[in-house]
C-alpha cells in the first residue's frame, strides 16, 4: 500500500488513486458546509469553528461570490480554496469578455471540477484538498442550481447536499426532510440541517442566500439567531406534542 500512495500519478493495484482519496479525507476534516436549493432561493450555510477573540471575523469570509449570480462555499483546505476561487473569478469575467454572456452555473462548476481533475493527473503536484458547493441562477432562464465538486474532479447537481465534517449525518437529515421550499423556508431548512452537527447559535454558522433579483446576501448574526430561535421553538413544540400523545390514548 505504502508504495502506491506517494505520487499522484500512480494507480494502486486495486485501482485507487491514494492521493485523491487522502485529499477527500482532508475534506472530511474540514468544516461542515450545506447547500439547499429552493424554487426561487438557493442557500449556503457553513460551520464557523470558534473564532479566536482577537481575530477580525470579517476577514474570514467562507461563502464567496464568483460573479453577480454565482456563489461558492467549500470544505477542506482554505488556502487551496483561495487559489481555486481566484481562477474561477477570472474565468467568470473572461467568459463574459469572449462571449458577452455570464457563465451558467454548470459551466463554472465544470471549469472548477476540470481544474481539480487536472491536478490529479499531473506530475509534481497534489490535488486540491477541498470540495465545493456552488450555487447560482441561470442568467437566461433564472432557474436556481446547486452543484458539488470534489478533489477527484467529479461534479453533479443536487437539490440539497452537504460536505465536510459529519456530512453524512447532514445528508441523511436532508434526505428525510427535503421538500420544495422557497424564500425563508429554504433558509430555515439549510440552518436546520446544519444545526444537526453544529452547536446552535448565530456565532457558529455563516449563512448566505442568493436570489435572482438581489444576488448574494450574507445573513447577519442577529438574523441567523432569529431563525435558530424559531427552529428551537418548533423542535420544543414537536417534543411537547410527542410527550402529550401517549397520555391521550
Amino acid at each position: 500500500m505504502a508504495r502506491y500512495d506517494r505520487a499522484i500519478t500512480v494507480f494502486s493495484p486495486d485501482g485507487h488513486l491514494f492521493q485523491v482519496e487522502y485529499a477527500m479525507e482532508a475534506v472530511r476534516k474540514g468544516n461542515a458546509a450545506v447547500g439547499v436549493r429552493g424554487t426561487d432561493t438557493v442557500v449556503l450555510g457553513v460551520e464557523k469553528k470558534s473564532t479566536p477573540k482577537l481575530q477580525d471575523s470579517r476577514s474570514v469570509r467562507k461563502i464567496v461570490n464568483l460573479d453577480d449570480h454565482i456563489a461558492l462555499a467549500c470544505a477542506g483546505l482554505k488556502a487551496d480554496a483561495r487559489v481555486l476561487v481566484n481562477k474561477a473569478r477570472i474565468e467568470c469575467q473572461s467568459h463574459k469578455l469572449t462571449v458577452e454572456d455570464p457563465v451558467t452555473v454548470e459551466y463554472i462548476t465544470r471549469y472548477i471540477a476540470g481544474l481539480q481533475q487536472k491536478y490529479t493527473q499531473s506530475g509534481g503536484v497534489r490535488p486540491f484538498g477541498l470540495s465545493t458547493l456552488i450555487i447560482g441562477f441561470d442568467p437566461h432562464t433564472g432557474v436556481p442550481s446547486l452543484y458539488q465538486t470534489d478533489p477527484s474532479g467529479t461534479f453533479s447537481a443536487w437539490k440539497a447536499n452537504a460536505t465536510g465534517r459529519n456530512s453524512n449525518s447532514i445528508r441523511e437529515f436532508l434526505e428525510k426532510n427535503y421538500k420544495e421550499t422557497s424564500g425563508q423556508e429554504t433558509v430555515k431548512l439549510a440552518i436546520r440541517a446544519l444545526l444537526e452537527v453544529v452547536e446552535s447559535g448565530g456565532k457558529n454558522i455563516e449563512v448566505a442566500l442568493m436570489t435572482k433579483e438581489h444576488g448574494l446576501r450574507q445573513l447577519e448574526e442577529a438574523e441567523i439567531d432569529a431563525v435558530v430561535a424559531e427552529i428551537e421553538a418548533e423542535k420544543a413544540a414537536a417534543e411537547a406534542a410527542k410527550k402529550a400523545q401517549p397520555k391521550e390514548t
Binding site: 469570509r61 461570490n65 464568483l66 460573479d67 481566484n86 473569478r89 477570472i90 467568470c92 469575467q93 473572461s94 463574459k96 469578455l97
Partner: protein
C-alpha cells in the same frame, strides 16, 4: 470624425460622445454607444479604431469587475484610470490600442473626477476634455463657457452648445450624440441628441 468630450460639474461628471460607426465613406449605424459603463460609478467614453475601442473598453470593464470580486470593494476612479493607462502603455511598443478615452467617475470620498487618457498612454486628471476633430470646437466652447461647480442643467446646456458648434462647423459632423452622467446615485444614460433616426434594429 469622432467626437468625445466631457466635463466635471457640481457633484457629477458628464461625458458626451457621437454615435456614428463609420467605415471609410460608409456610415454603418448612427446609434452606436461609445460610452461604456465600467461599473456602478464609472463611465468610459472612447473614440478611435472601432475594434480596439470595443475590445479595450470591455477588457477594462471586466478587469474592474474582477477587482471588485477579488477585493470586495470597487476600484477608485483614479485607480481605474491608472490601470487603463498602464494597459495602454504596456501594449504601446508592441501592439498599440488606437483608442482615446475620457474616464469619468464619482467616488464617495473625493467626489466627481474626469481623466484624459490618449492612445499613447498619456494620463491627465482634468475638469474638461475632448478628443477628435470635434475637440477643436468643443474645447473652445468649454474654455469660453465652463465654470467650476455648474449644475446638471448648465452642464448639459454647455454640452448642447458644443454639439451645435460641431454640427454646424465640422464638415462631416456626426448627426447623433449620447450624453451620460455619473454622480453619487451612479452612472447612467442622460439623454440622446438625435438629428437622424436609424430604423429600429431588433435587439440581439
Amino acid at each position: 470624425m469622432e467626437c468625445v468630450f466631457g466635463m466635471v460639474g457640481n457633484g457629477f461628471s458628464l461625458v458626451v460622445a457621437d454615435s456614428s460607426a463609420v467605415h471609410s465613406i460608409l456610415v454603418h449605424k448612427s446609434n452606436e454607444d461609445k460610452i461604456m459603463i465600467l461599473d456602478s460609478h464609472k463611465l468610459m467614453g472612447a473614440s478611435g479604431e472601432a475594434g480596439d475601442r470595443a475590445q479595450f473598453t470591455e477588457y477594462v470593464q471586466k478587469n474592474v469587475a474582477l477587482y471588485q470580486f477579488r477585493n470586495g470593494i470597487p476600484l477608485t476612479t483614479a485607480a481605474a484610470a491608472n490601470f487603463t493607462r498602464g494597459e495602454l502603455a504596456t501594449a504601446l511598443r508592441k501592439n498599440p490600442y488606437m483608442v482615446n478615452i475620457i474616464l469619468a467617475g464619482y467616488d464617495k470620498e473625493t467626489g466627481p473626477s474626469l481623466y484624459y487618457i490618449d492612445y499613447i498612454a498619456t494620463l491627465h486628471k482634468v475638469d474638461k476634455a475632448a478628443f477628435g476633430y470635434g475637440s477643436y470646437f468643443s474645447l473652445a466652447m468649454m474654455d469660453r463657457h465652463y465654470r467650476k461647480d455648474m449644475t446638471v442643467e448648465e452642464a448639459v446646456d454647455l454640452a448642447d452648445k458644443c454639439i451645435l458648434e460641431i454640427r454646424s462647423r465640422l464638415v462631416v459632423a456626426p448627426p447623433n450624440f449620447v450624453i451620460k452622467i455619473v454622480d453619487k446615485d451612479g452612472a447612467r444614460e442622460y439623454a440622446w441628441r438625435e438629428s437622424v433616426k436609424d430604423a429600429p434594429v431588433s435587439t440581439s
